[in-house]
């Protein structure tokens, strides 16, 4: 069973690509090679855009702006200040990245529309500025940029320049692919599936998106550098809208699921461009200007409607149909049947093992207050969902939070974990006020949660999901991820730790299964494992028992007891009242947003107000009161 994505097929892919590219100038006619040079240059910019769209889920409609910043910087530094190519390229790429960083700082906290329109605006500004300013040479631009020279060799023929570009493209692809498979890539992939779940595992969405956007601009800047040298001229057209559309089309056509697509897309779009420019004026006499845009627009629309995954998707479908590699054919998910095929949590350690789990140095002293909630209130318009709740959670206890549907339990969890901002009140975790802060802040203080309605990362495997849980227990940033080698050892450690956690909840056999294919109850266990992978001191579980079989429930309860023994504090929202009363040290009861009782399970069992709230009666109904009395007697174990 393969748990981690194989690297071997990628290595083969890189070799094949390099060879194909290397022989292209030998086989193709000169005019094609010329087109090929542009295809490779644009592909570099498009790889960056693919990263931005595929990983950060954001789109730039002004990729040409960063391209232009790179090209202009290179042109100016080389022609006007006499810099040599490589140092000026470094500055050019840095400047393009800086522009993106500043813009992203402003726009990336918001929904994708704003970055799209913001980058579109940047394109317009740069075009205007370049046209108006003498520094950039006005409409005629910067010219006389020499062809690059290394070791006395001048790369001035299309084939030569093409060969020069090949190593650049291959390295650009390698870096992009490494990032996609790195810790950062995994975290961002998780964000695209469920931002809220990724955040509660400690992923700082904004920060990672900003990094990817900055990197994507660096790619565009680098492409601009080569463009400047090849064309020898940079004018305001380098920033213009049609070029940004072209980059977008290359990415989308190639497919956002893979960085490879950009190279294939680059060739196709360049040939489409050339074809349209020749064909349209023949069909429609007198047509001039950017008529190729017609093809760009139509292809964009068609790809999104008919082939949203681009050529990458077509490739997967094709190779799947040929019975080759690719994803295994869809098969019905295994059911948690009575025959007991899937193993329940903790199966590996035997049903009676009560040894502590996740013991670690530096845990808060058992019994000390870990979480302090004061006056917590949430209003939605006229509805008070949570009303002035005070609650303490101590290290090493299991606290159950129960109450009828709609009592405000999940809303409480949401406010404590930073998913919702409270209307008023405070949340203090480990001495820090965290109310209103984003969930990754909650996770930083070694606290995390699961969700009532599943928030699995559907595009990852079970193991992949749990590996995201290790996000805060590992460190490799984008740079190390890109360079691959230093990050690899850490990757193996992450995978091993995640696998241990997967085993703990009894999902070892399903570790390589796509999360979306798991049955409901197994996905819940996976989310518990994912939360445990963070090694939290405080764990909030929102209905972890729902959808579990009786065996699985029993095993999960045992697992929770072992975690408590290891010093973890657990807050449990659960509908299975008996299971909760058997497990919890203390029980808090919410009704209609208010905390109506807090005490030991026995105290709660005996509290008539609790039972009234739970089964829903009104206090003026004697018949119902009788029923309550009857019920409470039964709950206490009265019926023989």
């Amino acid at each position: 069973m393969r748990l981690l994505p194989s690297r071997r097929s990628d290595v083969v892919g890189f070799v094949v690509l390099a060879v194909l590219l290397a022989v292209f100038p030998l086989m193709a006619p000169l005019s094609w090679v010329n087109v090929g040079v542009y295809a490779l240059i644009y592909a570099i910019a498009a790889i960056g855009l693919t990263l931005l769209m595929g990983l950060a889920g954001q789109v730039s409609l002004g990729q040409a702006s960063f391209f232009a910043i790179g090209a202009y910087t290179q042109g100016i530094l080389v022609t006007r200040y006499g810099w040599s190519g490589i140092p000026s390229a470094v500055v050019a790429v840095l400047l393009a990245s800086l522009a993106a960083f500043v813009l992203g700082l402003a726009l990336l906290r918001l929904r994708g529309h704003y970055l799209a329109l913001g980058t579109l605006g940047l394109g317009i500004i740069i075009t205007v500025f370049a046209t108006e300013s003498d520094f950039t040479g006005g409409t005629s631009g910067i010219f006389g940029i020499p062809k690059p020279e290394f070791n006395g060799r001048t790369y001035d023929e299309p084939a030569e320049f093409f060969w020069l570009l090949i190593p650049v493209v291959v390295v650009a692809l390698l870096v992009a692919r490494n990032i996609v498979t790195s810790r950062v890539g995994r975290a961002l992939g998780a964000v695209n599936d469920s931002e809220v779940a990724a955040e509660t595992l400690g992923v700082d969405t904004f920060r990672l998106r900003l990094q990817v956007f900055t990197l994507s601009a660096a790619y565009a800047g680098l492409a601009g550098v080569f463009f400047a040298h090849w064309l020898a001229v940079v004018n305001p057209n380098a920033a213009n809208f049609p070029l940004s559309v072209k980059f977008l089309l290359i990415s989308v056509l190639g497919g956002l699921g893979t960085v490879w697509g950009a190279v294939v897309g680059g060739f196709l779009v360049e040939f489409l461009d050339e074809g349209m420019k020749t064909l349209i004026p023949q069909l429609i006499p007198g047509a001039t200007g950017e008529v190729q845009l017609l093809g760009f627009g139509i292809v964009l629309v068609l790809v999104i409607i008919l082939l949203p995954g681009g050529l990458h998707q077509a490739w997967l479908t094709l190779s799947g149909a040929l019975g080759g590699r690719g994803r295994p054919a869809a098969e019905p998910p295994p059911r948690p049947a009575a025959d007991g095929a899937p193993s329940p949590p903790g199966a590996a350690t035997g049903p009676t093992d009560e040894s502590p789990l996740f013991v670690r140095d530096g845990r808060p002293e058992p019994g000390s207050t870990l979480l302090e909630v004061r006056g917590l209130t949430k209003r939605f318009g006229g509805v008070v969902a949570v009303d002035d709740v005070d609650l303490d959670v101590r290290a090493g206890e299991i606290l159950a939070l129960i109450g009828p549907n709609g009592a405000g339990k999940t809303t409480c969890f949401n406010m404590v974990s930073g998913v919702l901002t409270p209307t008023s009140g405070s949340v203090t975790l480990d001495g820090h006020r965290i109310e209103g802060k984003k969930p990754h802040v909650f996770a930083r203080s070694r606290a995390t949660r699961t969700f009532q309605n599943l928030q699995g990362f559907g595009s990852a495997t079970v193991l992949g999901n749990v590996m995201v849980g290790r996000h805060l227990r590992s460190r490799s940033g984008m740079l190390r991820g890109a360079l691959l080698a230093p990050a690899r050892r850490e990757e193996r450690q992450i995978a091993q730790a995640a696998l241990d956690t997967v085993e703990l909840v009894g999902l070892r056999d399903e570790a390589a299964v796509p999360a979306a294919d798991l049955p409901f109850g197994r996905q819940r266990l996976m989310e518990v494992a994912r939360a445990l992978a963070l090694e939290p001191d405080l764990l909030l579980l929102d209905e972890p028992m729902a959808g579990l079989s009786a065996d699985e429930r029993r095993a999960l309860a045992q697992l929770l007891r072992r975690l408590r023994a290891g010093g973890m504090a657990i807050v449990l929202v659960e509908h299975d009242v008996e299971a909760v009363l058997a497990l919890a040290d203390r029980v808090a009861v919410l009704d209609d947003g208010r905390l109506i009782a807090l005490g030991s399970p026995d105290e709660i069992r005996a509290d008539p107000a609790v039972i009234a709230a739970y089964l829903g009666v009104d206090e003026h109904d004697t018949e119902a009161e009788d029923a309550v009395r009857q019920m409470s007697g039964e709950s206490g174990g009265g019926r023989a």
């Binding site: 019905p332 998910p333 939605f380 318009g381 006229g382 509805v383 008070v384 969902a385 009828p404 549907n405 709609g406 009592a407 405000g408 979306a516 294919d517 049955p519 409901f520 209905e543 028992m545 729902a546 959808g547 009786a550 429930r553 509908h575 299975d576 009242v577 008996e578 299971a579 058997a582 209609d592 947003g593 009234a612 709230a613 089964l615 829903g616 009666v617 009104d618 206090e619 119902a624 029923a627 019920m631 039964e634 709950s635 174990g637 019926r639």
Partner: protein, 252 residues
């Protein structure tokens, strides 16, 4: 009036309903003229109650089985067509239109009858206000500013405005104080007495038992029991289904 036969449905590859059969207002048309029926479906969280309603009203596509409304098959229709066919669904969490006024919310409730003239609408609105007098003072207020109980009343009122053949409600008691729950249940009982056919999904079994003519108990996507409230009140299986798998183990 509403009959559900062997209904299967779910989300993506996860089947939630495994062949649910039940009927509301079961008597034939002549018999039905005597008055409506209020049928409650109860069950714990995850029993499939909401999925059942969502499938009946066309928000979810049934994978097998059928739903007949007054003899017409509606199980292949999208939600807006089901509404037009005469089934009003009062959704979970009320879902009032928050920035629109109470009056506008009610008015939109009569959307399927919008060509019927404003007089009919005014009559219906008067009926709603008579049923829930609290809404009268708030007609011009934005619905989002109402309390939870008032929003629930508005959501039910919006359902009645359509003059449906069948009114289906998804847990109207959720998150409400017991007094308000009583008020709402009394309103449902009154609508039923006036001849409306009602299907009520409830987790709050006590509240449902007090007003229902018949009760179905659902558990894990199937109907477990059917009977009158008095028959089911003492049935240990009801408590079992509610208090969870550990209950019998703990007491038995």
């Amino acid at each position: 009036m509403l009959s559900i036969e062997q209904l299967h449905a779910g989300y993506r590859r996860l089947e939630v309903l495994h062949g649910v059969t039940l009927s509301v207002g079961a008597g034939d048309a002549a018999d039905g003229a005597a008055g409506g029926e209020l049928v409650a479906v109860i069950g714990a969280n995850g029993a499939g109650k909401t999925t059942l309603l969502r499938t009946v009203s066309g928000l979810l596509r049934a994978s097998a089985g059928q739903v007949l409304l007054d003899g017409t098959a509606i199980s292949r229709l999208p939600a807006e067509k089901v509404a037009a066919a005469g089934l009003a669904h009062v959704p979970e969490n009320r879902l009032v239109f928050p920035t629109l006024s109470v009056a506008d919310n009610l008015r939109l409730g009569a959307w399927t009858r919008r060509r019927g003239g404003s007089r009919h609408r005014a009559t219906s609105q008067d009926q709603v206000l008579e049923l829930f007098p609290r809404l009268r003072d708030r007609l011009d207020q934005a619905a989002g500013t109402l309390s939870g109980g008032e929003q629930q009343m508005l959501a039910i009122g919006r359902g009645i405005m359509a003059r449906p053949k069948v009114l289906v409600l998804d847990e109207p008691s959720v998150g409400l104080a017991p007094m308000v729950v009583t008020e709402i249940m009394q309103a449902l009982a009154r609508l039923r007495a006036e001849g409306l056919t009602i299907l009520l999904i409830e987790q709050n079994a006590r509240a449902a038992f007090k007003v229902a003519d018949r009760v179905y108990l659902m558990d894990r996507g199937r109907v477990l029991l059917e009977g009158t409230p008095t028959e089911l009140l003492d049935d240990v299986r009801v408590q079992h289904a509610y208090l969870g798998g550990g209950y019998t183990a703990a007491t038995g």
